[in-house]
Symmetry: C2
Subunit: 397 residues, 2 copies
C-alpha cells in the first residue's frame, strides 16, 4: 500500500487529538497524585482541583455546571452503573420492570438482558423504520412496577437521534428514572441538561478524539444509584478506584476542542458521501433517519453483497469502515439495529457504517466512493443474490 | 518553597516513567483502533495483536504466559470482578460464605461488606501483630458453605507480605476459590503463578510508575467468574468495554522497566530510612513485619503526635507522605490496618506511610529524616499526650 489508510470508522478515525495528549501530560508526571481531601498534601489538592475542573468543564458543555458527574472507565461502565445501580437501589421498593429500546448499544442491551436472567421484566421497545421510538408506546409500556427507562440519545450504528426531550418528559410525568446513553452524540449534537429532564446520562471520550479508558455518568441530584464498584470513597462515593486524572483532563480537553464549525464541516462531508454513493452506486439504501441523525454518521446497505466482504476489500485498498455494531467484534450475527428498523438479514449483512471525524477530508470521500463503486460492482458480479435485483425500498428478499 | 517537593507517597512518588508514555503514544494516534476479530480491517488486527502482546508480557512476568488475563480499569475493578463475579456465579450452587482478611484494602473489604449487606456471611480473619494471617485459622474458618477466600499478597499500608503459597494450598485442598490482591506487590516482589495455585489475582500499574486507569485480573482457566460489566464481548467475554489499548501497552512497559536491581536499591533506601528514624527520633515503632514486607514500604508510628499533623507540616517543608490508607481520603477514621495488628487509636493516628519509587534518592532520605526530627519534636512539645511517654512496644494509652 502506497498511502496511509483512510479511516471512516470511528473506532479508528476518532484517533486522539495531539492537543489532548498535551493537556494530559502534566498529570502523568508532575501532578501524578491521588486526588485527596483537604487533609492531604499540596500535590494531592492540586490533583483534586484539576479533576474537579475537568468535571465542571464537561458539565458546562452539558448545560449544567453545578450538576454531579462521576468519571468512569468508559461508556460501558457508565451505562452499567446507571442501569444496575438504579435497579439495585430501587428493586426492593417499587417493582422489577425496566424499559429499553430494542436498538440500544450492547452496554445497555446486555445489562438489561442480564437483569432479565435475574428475574427482572424488561420491555424492549420497537422502533420505526428510521429507528425512532414511539413516545406513546413508551408511555403505554410504563406500569406501576417500572423503575427505569433507558433510551439512547443517538444510535451507534445508524446515528438516529431520539426525541429525548419528549421521552424524558414522559418518564418524569410517570415518576420513572430516565437514563440515556449519549456516547455517540456527546460533542456532535447539543445536549442541554438545563432544558432536558434527564436523570442519568452516559458520555464518553473515545469517539470524539479523546482518550480511551475514560467516560462519565451524569447523575441528577437525588437520583438513587447504588455503587457498582466498591472500594474507596471517590467520585461522590458512587464509584471507587484511584481516579484516572490524566484521562479526565483529556476528556475535558476533548470536549473543549469540538466546535460548531467542525460539526458543520463533518456534516457536509457526510452528506456529500451519501449523495455521491446514491448517485454512483445503484441499489443502496440509507439506514437511519435522513435528518434526525448525528452529523458524523452514514450507514448504507449495498444490496446483494456482504458488509464483511466490502470491509475486507476496502481494507485491501486502504480504507477502513465497519459493518454492524463496532462492539460486536466477536460475532457474525446480523445487526440487531438493522433488524430492529425492519430490515431483513440481507439488509443487515450488507450494511456499512461510515463515521467521520476531525481528520477526514473531502478527497477521502471522493476516493472511498470510487473504491466502493469498484468493490461493490465486482462483488455483485459474483453474488448469488444478484439476480434478485430490486429498488431501494424493497428490503425483503 | 525553593526546591521541588520530595515524594515518599506512592500516590505521587510513583509518577509515570517517561518511557511508559513513549510506549503508549502510537496507540493514541496511529493505532487508535478497536481491537477487532479477524473480520475487521488491518488496523484493528494490529490493535488486537498489540493488546494480546501486552497481555502476554504481563502474564510472563507472572510466570504463566499461557494464562488468562483480563484488562480492567484498575485494581479496584479487578477485585470487584473477582469477588462479586465468583460469588454471583457460585452463590446458588454451594453456599453464601466468603473469607477475607481484616486488613484488606478497600476494594476487597468493601466488596465483602457489600455482599454482607446482601445476606452473605463474611469471616474477617484476624492478623497477628505483624499483619500476618494464621493459615490454621484460615483452615478452620472454611466450611461447607465457603465459596471464596480473598487474602492480599501485600498490605497497602504496612507492606506485610502474606504466605500466599500456604494460603493458596489450603484453599485448593478445601476446593475453595482463592483470590489475592497483589496491587502493592506486583513488580516489587516476585509472583510465580507456575508454582502458586492462585485462582484470581488483582494487579495494577499505578503504583509502579505506570498509567492510571488500567489494571488487570488474572483468571485461572476454569475458574467461574460472572461478568460484572455487561456490553460487548471483549476480554474473553469477561469484561465489556472498548479496550484501553494505550493503557494496556503502558502497563506492559511498566512491568518491563522494573529490574531486580531497582528493587534492591529501593529496599536499601527504605532500610536506611527506618534505621535513621529509629536512631534519630525517639518513641517510634515500625508497623508491619520487619522482614516479610515489600521493599518499597516503611510505616512508622510517631508516638504522641497525629499523622495528619506530620503530613501537613512535612508538606509545608516540601515532603509528601501519607497517613492511614491512601484510599481513605474522605475520612478521619483510624486506620483499620493498624487497629487490625493490635494497635490502638493513638498508634493508628500517629502512623505515617513512606513509599519508595524509582525516583527517590538517598539525599531525599537524609532530608526527610531531618525534617521529621524537627516536625515531630515540635509537635510533641505541644502534644497533650506527651506526658504519657513509653517504650516502642507499649502501644495502648
Amino acid at each position: 500500500m502506497e498511502r496511509e489508510t483512510i479511516y471512516f470508522d470511528n473506532a479508528a478515525s476518532s484517533r486522539m487529538d495531539e492537543r489532548v495528549l498535551e493537556s494530559m501530560k502534566p498529570y502523568f508526571f508532575d501532578v501524578y497524585a491521588v486526588a485527596t481531601s483537604e487533609f492531604g498534601y499540596s500535590l494531592g489538592i492540586e490533583a483534586r482541583e484539576a479533576l474537579d475542573g475537568a468535571r465542571t468543564k464537561i458539565l458546562s458543555a452539558l448545560g449544567n455546571p453545578e450538576g454531579k458527574l462521576i468519571f468512569t472507565s468508559g461508556n460501558t461502565e457508565s451505562s452499567n452503573i446507571a442501569i444496575k445501580g438504579v435497579v439495585k437501589k430501587l428493586s426492593g421498593t417499587k417493582g422489577k420492570h425496566i424499559i429499553v429500546s430494542g436498538i440500544e448499544d450492547f452496554p445497555v442491551l446486555n445489562s438489561a438482558r442480564s437483569l432479565e436472567r435475574e428475574g427482572f421484566k424488561v420491555t424492549y421497545l420497537n422502533v420505526d423504520k428510521y429507528g425512532l421510538v414511539d413516545p406513546d408506546e413508551l408511555n403505554d409500556s410504563i406500569n406501576e412496577e417500572t423503575i427505569l427507562v433507558s433510551i439512547q440519545h443517538a444510535n451507534q450504528e445508524i446515528g438516529t437521534i431520539q426525541d429525548i426531550k419528549t421521552i424524558a418528559g414522559i418518564c418524569n410525568k410517570n415518576n420513572v428514572i430516565f437514563h440515556s446513553d449519549a456516547t455517540h452524540s456527546f460533542g456532535r449534537v447539543p445536549i442541554d441538561l438545563s432544558t432536558l429532564d434527564i436523570d442519568l446520562l452516559t458520555v464518553s471520550a473515545h469517539t470524539i478524539h479523546g482518550p480511551k479508558g475514560i467516560g462519565a455518568l451524569y447523575v441528577k441530584e437525588g437520583v438513587p444509584v447504588a455503587k457498582w464498584i466498591d472500594g474507596g470513597f471517590q467520585e461522590f462515593d458512587l464509584r471507587a478506584g484511584v481516579e484516572n486524572i490524566p484521562g479526565a483532563i483529556g476528556f475535558a480537553k476533548t470536549i473543549e476542542l469540538i466546535t460548531e464549525e467542525e460539526n458543520k464541516r463533518i456534516k457536509n462531508l457526510r452528506d456529500y458521501l451519501i449523495e455521491k454513493i446514491q448517485k454512483e452506486i445503484p441499489d443502496t439504501v440509507l439506514n437511519g433517519h435522513p435528518e434526525k441523525r448525528i452529523p458524523n454518521n452514514a450507514n448504507i446497505t449495498f444490496h446483494f453483497v456482504e458488509g464483511e466482504s466490502i470491509t475486507l476489500h476496502l481494507d485491501m485498498k486502504g480504507f477502513a469502515v465497519s459493518t454492524g455494531s463496532a462492539c460486536f467484534s466477536k460475532s457474525l450475527e446480523a445487526s440487531h439495529v438493522i433488524l430492529g428498523i425492519g430490515g431483513d438479514h440481507e439488509r443487515a449483512h450488507g450494511s456499512v457504517r461510515f463515521t467521520f471525524g476531525r481528520f477526514n477530508k473531502k478527497e477521502d470521500v471522493d476516493q472511498i466512493v470510487d473504491a466502493l463503486a469498484d468493490v461493490v460492482g465486482k462483488l455483485r458480479k459474483i453474488s448469488p443474490l444478484k439476480g434478485k435485483k430490486r429498488g431501494k425500498n424493497e428490503i425483503s428478499l
